[in-house]
């Protein structure tokens, strides 16, 4: 199996929207390689008999609730939690997305 390069760490950080310091890039390149090598231990297991992975460990019956209107959180309270919001129009505010 392959291992991670510094460029791949930068690509992952970009995909995951994480701004890293130079120190973190060095540290994580080494540590993520170690963790991946560890994770690759699973390759020692013969899983040919497992046709389809079943990721759901729950054996309790899943149920659907009635599609009824229930009270939800108060909009003004929710907007008050936001770092930036326009309460009158009921919108969250974020920095500019497009150049004018």
């Amino acid at each position: 199996m392959e291992t991670l390069t510094r460029d791949e760490v930068l690509r992952l950080a970009r995909l995951a929207r994480l701004e890293l310091t130079d120190g973190e890039i060095e540290l994580f390149t080494r540590q993520l390689r170690e963790i991946l090598a560890f994770a690759q231990q699973v390759n020692a297991v013969d899983t040919s008999g497992i046709a389809e992975a079943n990721p759901d460990p729950a054996t309790g019956q899943a149920t659907l609730r009635d599609d009824a209107v229930l009270p939800s959180l108060n909009r003004a309270e929710v907007l008050a939690l936001a770092p930036d919001a326009d309460r009158d129009s009921g919108l969250f505010k974020v920095p500019r997305v497009f150049k004018r």
Binding site: L15, R17, L18, A39, Q40, G60, L81
Partner: protein, 479 residues
């Protein structure tokens, strides 16, 4: 204050022999004095605790069975009006608008939430050092870790500041700190306890768990918070047994499986001795000790790492600085705002998000995530086979006692190995409990019992029987 059982406090308050306010004030005073020593609380909820205690005292009919019982809550469980940080800078000032279902149920039974406990950031860790606030210290030796990720809750109970505390479990985050701090720690079957209001980390494994100073208190507490909740689609429509009643039986006739091959390596000598002695105690009490094979559990930590990273990266994408939590300032555009806000995550969180992004990306998905899910199915099959022959599986909870603060902090793989005996129960979705079973060089050791799905009552029965036969749950660290 003398150490008292949760159920005794609840009875005394319900019968008006004492007041919830008196219990509350004594607890808050201790928290004020001792939090600096252990770093185990992030927020002490003075106002909410006092209001709740006084409401109980003035109620015509005092609630049961936890009237006035002070309870500490891990800081990744939402509490209305009380800051809930998940030990992260991203949520350092976050005050939720609602209570988790477990909080509602505990309060309805009379409990008083006294504070929010420190933990690894977003529950990612096995030492409670990955906190944006401070590293939690072990009350048996302040130079050592308390275990994690729910380390603060374990310490709050170990010091008997509270008789009960809530934690959360993804790979051992209640059982391991319970073992390392010398208290009882319980993880339910996946779906047994509502997760509404628990900050999501690994949705296919996360469960809320309970710490207590004795098995009966834990069983009673689980009985209160367990059961279906329409607000959590993964919570099961299964009847909840009378767990507290199950603690009255002995272990006669109980078949206990021991996976000897799994325990052959990596086990500290003192832990092995305490574990072997605990099996002797149970055998003398009438339990039958049987060898079982869990051949795939040796891959539990590597399987677990992959599943965890994948689900964590996707769950934590919600922390974007838009709707709640902290937003980094000075960003020129939206993209930069996201990246700088998420730069506030600690190192362990960043590592898991990046590796999760990697194992889920095109070209790697089959090799890592799909492969891990298949190994996960095999781990579960091993347990299914074992449970055809035995009622519970016994192992030490942790391969070692509490290690030194800082010892594994820069070595993530070593940290992950702390979950070697606990993660398989989460991967399989089955319940497990850790009970104190002695000491190794003055540090607590835990006995782990793992059971069939939905058969929590059997675990409480076995753990309580063991507890009665040994002096360990009464042990407390020197003040």
């Amino acid at each position: 204050m003398k150490a008292r059982r949760a159920l005794d406090i609840g009875r005394a308050v319900a019968n008006a022999e004492t007041t919830a306010s008196a219990v509350c004030e004594a607890t808050l005073e201790r928290l004020e004095h001792e939090t600096g020593r252990f770093n185990h609380f992030i927020t002490v909820a003075h106002e909410r605790a006092r209001a709740r205690a006084s409401a109980i005292d003035s109620a015509a009919d005092r609630p049961r069975p936890l009237a006035g019982v002070p309870i500490a809550v891990k800081d990744n469980i939402c509490t209305r009006g009380v800051r809930t940080t998940a030990a992260s800078r991203v949520l350092s000032d976050h005050v939720p608008l609602y209570d988790a279902t477990v909080i509602e149920r505990l309060e309805a039974a009379g409990a008083v939430i006294v504070g929010k406990t420190n933990c690894d950031e977003f529950a990612m860790g096995s030492s409670s050092e990955h906190s944006a606030f401070a590293a939690v210290r072990n009350p048996w030796d302040l130079s050592r870790i308390a275990g994690g990720s729910s380390g603060g809750s374990a310490v709050a109970v170990a010091t008997r500041q509270v008789p009960l505390a809530l934690g959360s479990e993804t790979g051992g985050s209640v059982r391991q700190p319970a073992a390392l701090c010398g208290v009882v720690g319980f993880k339910p079957t996946y779906g047994r306890i509502s997760r509404y209001g628990l900050i999501a980390f690994v949705s296919s494994m996360d469960q809320i768990g309970v710490f207590g100073a004795n098995v009966r208190d834990v069983a009673a507490c689980v009985g209160i918070i367990a059961g279906h909740d329409p607000r959590d689609a993964t919570s099961a429509l299964r009847p909840v047994d009378d767990y507290a009643a199950a603690t009255g039986d002995d272990s006669r006739g109980l078949r206990i499986g021991v996976p000897r091959a799994l325990l052959a390596e990596g086990l500290e000598n003192g832990v092995r001795d305490a574990f072997d002695e605990s099996l002797n105690v149970l055998r003398r009490d009438g339990a039958e000790i049987v060898d079982v094979a869990l051949p795939h559990s040796r891959y539990a930590t590597s399987t677990y790492a992959i599943v965890v990273m994948a689900e964590a990266s996707s769950n934590l994408s919600r922390f974007d600085g838009v709707r709640y939590g902290t937003r980094a300032t000075g960003a020129m555009n939206l993209e930069q705002m996201y990246s700088r806000t998420r730069a506030l995550f600690g190192h362990e969180v960043k590592r898991r998000i990046m590796l999760g992004t990697y194992v889920l990306s095109a070209g790697y998905y089959d090799a890592y995530y799909l492969k891990a899910q298949k190994v996960r199915a095999l781990i579960r099959q091993d347990f299914d086979r074992a449970f055809e022959r035995v009622d519970v599986v016994a192992t030490p909870t942790s391969p070692t006692t509490a290690f030194k603060l800082g010892e594994r902090l820069e070595n993530p793989v070593q940290m992950y190995l702390a979950d070697a005996f606990t993660a398989s129960a989460n991967l399989a979705g089955i319940p497990a409990i850790s009970v104190p079973c002695g000491f190794s060089s003055g540090l607590p050791v835990g006995l782990q019992l793992t059971g069939r799905a939905w058969e929590e009552a059997t675990l409480f029965r076995a753990a309580a029987a063991y507890e009665r036969l040994t002096p360990w749950t009464g042990q407390m660290p020197a003040a």
